[in-house]
Symmetry: C2
Subunit: 230 residues, 2 copies
């Protein structure tokens, strides 16, 4: 067997640390044993003993699970399984500067997709009061000439309000996290183009129009972004 063959066949051996292993072990254990939120876990020392590793390693693994919100620890009472904040970990990682361009583009498209898919839930839950607030936001922008910063904030406020109107807390938080990405990708544009359908147009559709009209309106509103996709 030639040397190159050997090199090709031999992949790098696993470089997982004990903390990695223990973390996975613990998560599998919790899953397999059908632990429910509120259930108590063994103490760190017991875990270390059972797994045959030092308390240090166990603590690193537990520290990760704690960050994810999967467990909570109290001083003498020990640790209990908890319901994690599923978006919390997401938030920590969502920094445009450290995400690769391909993923940034993916996220940009993800938000466009969400925006286009909102109509049904929006029409299910929209309330007069919310539409009035949305209108106020749209109109506050109408004057124009308020500067770039104002324009961006207003854009964020308008679309954020729409998400809020869906009554879906997770969806709203999710889009809020995507905002920096969206802003970053847009900031790369040379000429900021604006769709034919304005915010006020969308509000008017929301007031009197149908879901289908709203979808068409949103598509037109986002058209400049869609046009740039490949």
């Amino acid at each position: 067997m030639a040397k190159t063959d050997l090199i090709k066949d031999l992949g790098p051996i696993s470089q997982r640390t004990m903390a990695d292993v223990v973390e996975k072990e613990l998560r599998d254990y919790l899953k397999k044993k059908l632990f429910k939120p509120g259930d108590a876990l063994p103490s760190e020392l017991e875990l270390a003993d059972a797994l045959g590793v030092s308390r240090n390693v166990v603590r690193e693994a537990l520290s990760r699970l704690r960050m994810l919100g999967m467990i909570e620890t109290k001083k003498r009472r020990g640790m209990i399984l908890s319901t994690p904040d599923i978006l919390g970990s997401f938030e920590r990682v969502l920094d445009p500067l450290i995400i690769d361009d391909s993923t940034l583009q993916d996220i940009f498209e993800l938000r466009l997709t969400l925006e286009m898919g909102l109509a049904d839930i929006l029409y299910l839950r929209k309330k007069k009061k919310d539409i009035a607030e949305l209108e106020a936001i749209a109109k506050s922008q109408d004057g124009g000439g308020k500067g770039q910063a104002f324009r961006i904030n207003n854009e964020i406020a308008f679309h954020g309000k729409i998400y809020q109107m869906t009554g879906n807390e997770t969806l709203m938080r999710f889009q809020n996290m995507l905002l920096p990405i969206f802003g970053y990708v847009i900031s790369l544009e040379k000429v900021p183009q604006i769709g034919k359908v304005s915010h006020i147009d969308l509000v008017n559709i929301l007031k009197d129009g149908t879901k289908e009209e709203f979808r068409e309106g949103m598509l037109e509103h986002l058209k400049p972004h869609f046009n740039k996709l490949k």
Copy 2:
């Protein structure tokens, strides 16, 4: 001031551990200093020294960042900033059994929203070859009477293929993670209802129909789910 007022005003004091603080400190530091992927970090000992904490605490914080994929460590070379896998942390936490019902519902709606918003990107990127594969999946189900497990797997395969056709890797992985949630919520249904528009209908629309027709078709396909929303 009444006693109840006092109790209401006094929240529990912060219980953040040093590891929590250091983790945040490090993330802020990396952000503020505009660290880019590939940049080297100080050694654990230097960090511990600079922050005035033990190496143990620093290691717990670093262990978290490592789990998120924000940093990579090599034995002697030290640590370097890295581009995190933004969905990796998500994956760990997405277990239907430990997520509260309200969030489960939110995620269910999130997936419906995505599905309804896919049309534009799908029509931008769909290829004959993919449609053929999609058709094969749809037809393999047509026979019927293949049992519950087959039906569910086929459902997953069909919708998964649609996401894959968007060419958006992140979107596809994202929906893949949402599958267990979706499956779980659906499994709670007593009578599994099926929309008027079938998979094969959707394929046919993809072949000859417009984006708008596809959206309408998808809405009909998902109708039973939408009907249950409040």
